[in-house]
């Protein structure tokens, strides 16, 4: 009797026997709904079919349909009104959450550009508001970073704390929320950048210049210093990055 795939681990890539992945039903329903919105040419304000009808048509339980809509509502794509029905709010990017976007398609350049857009503005705002507490926490973060580096570390914790304290100092809940949502991917690029030989001290120096600019109250200078810093970080990160073989086709025009 011939044994198939007797090798204990790391056997050659048997394409057919790759692990099959099961998605959750409410995700599938979400995709179908996205299709439906397109096919039915739904416009904002239009009403969806009933929960019961959708459940029947899609051969799933009403619970699953509801789960889909609960998510869609949280993402702001639909309005659910008790006793009335469910209505479309906006069409573009239907069903696509930022989180899923960041997980699925990790184009590093996009992440770095988005980060720059947000953080440069936050530094500018921070320079405009700059409270004593804000400055204090920034200095504390820099001290922490310096200590980490002197101890032979990369200063990752301090780096993260510094950028976060600036984000807080910006006093803009929307931008803060966006930066927080991207925290994970940003953290990855941070580690990469600081792993480059000689980077941590230079990064610390750049941080000092940013802090000085913020403390001086010059919004323009603060923005410029932050931009400069992030461009350097981006360059280093991009060195190691190479686009994945396109696993799917970009359907956008």
């Amino acid at each position: 009797m011939r044994l198939i795939n007797s090798a204990p681990m790391g056997s050659p890539s048997t394409a057919a026997l790759r692990p099959l992945e099961r998605s959750r039903i409410y995700e599938d329903v979400g995709e179908r709904l996205a299709e439906f919105v397109g096919e039915a040419r739904m416009a904002p304000g239009d009403q969806f079919p009933t929960e019961r009808e959708l459940a029947h048509k899609l051969h799933v339980s009403r619970t699953s349909v509801r789960q889909s809509f609960v998510v869609l509502q949280a993402l702001g794509f639909v309005d659910v009104r008790h006793g009335e029905g469910m209505f479309l709010r906006r069409t573009r990017g239907f069903g696509e959450s930022l989180t899923k976007l960041l997980e699925r398609r990790r184009r590093l350049p996009d992440v770095l550009d988005a980060r720059e857009a947000l953080e440069v503005k936050l530094a500018e705002l921070a320079a405009g508001h700059r409270g004593d507490d804000d400055i204090k926490s920034m200095k504390a973060a820099l001290a922490q970073m310096e200590a980490e580096i002197n101890a032979g570390g990369l200063g990752i914790e301090g780096d993260a704390a510094f950028h976060h304290s600036i984000a807080l100092a910006g006093r803009n809940e929307i931008l803060l929320h966006l930066i927080d949502a991207m925290a994970e991917v940003i953290q990855e690029s941070r580690v990469e950048s600081l792993s480059e030989p000689g980077r941590p001290p230079r990064s610390l120096e750049a941080h000092r210049r940013i802090l000085a600019a913020i403390e001086s109250g010059s919004t323009q200078l603060a923005a410029e210093e932050m931009r400069l810093h992030l461009r350097v970080v981006a360059d280093v990160s991009l060195l190691r990055w190479q686009p994945e073989p396109s696993d799917d086709v970009d359907t956008r025009a």
Copy 2:
């Protein structure tokens, strides 16, 4: 027999008889979970109690608990692993979706700053990539705006189309997603701004300058023109804006 509130409509504001609003259970559960994360000092990676246990403790059905977690997962705050349990991913801003944030706390300055952060960068990126199709759709949008204005309108449609075509030309899905998520509130500020006497023609002119900058390929100039344009828009919008009486206290530090 004395009738209370016999006035047919628009009776004086009886504070106690304001319409009471009922929240959905899964939203309440979400808030409790946020509390719990704080009280229990949960850190990323920590495991939540079982669905069944939470349902029992909170005196709600397991279904409601699940709906909460479905949302939390979509927003990227928790990881739900079949057969294992539910785990915390990130702490900051727990349970707060951008949509809810934009609905609840409509601080116009925040919106305008966030818009500037995103659109300035998008204009810069657009100038870097600039494909023929992109330029073409921008020109079409400007033509539409001009036609609207000549017809006595405000050019709102054309304005929106112009900014959107730039966002598309930026070739950055993350920034595009963020702008789309803010589309509604941005649209409101757009209407306000263009309603100001004499605004539409001036806005059209600013758009032409932006387009020229993008077409020239100068990323820096494109960014600067967009920033200038948005600052003017912001000034106009802010004229009519006044902060609402603070209906709740900011709990953040």
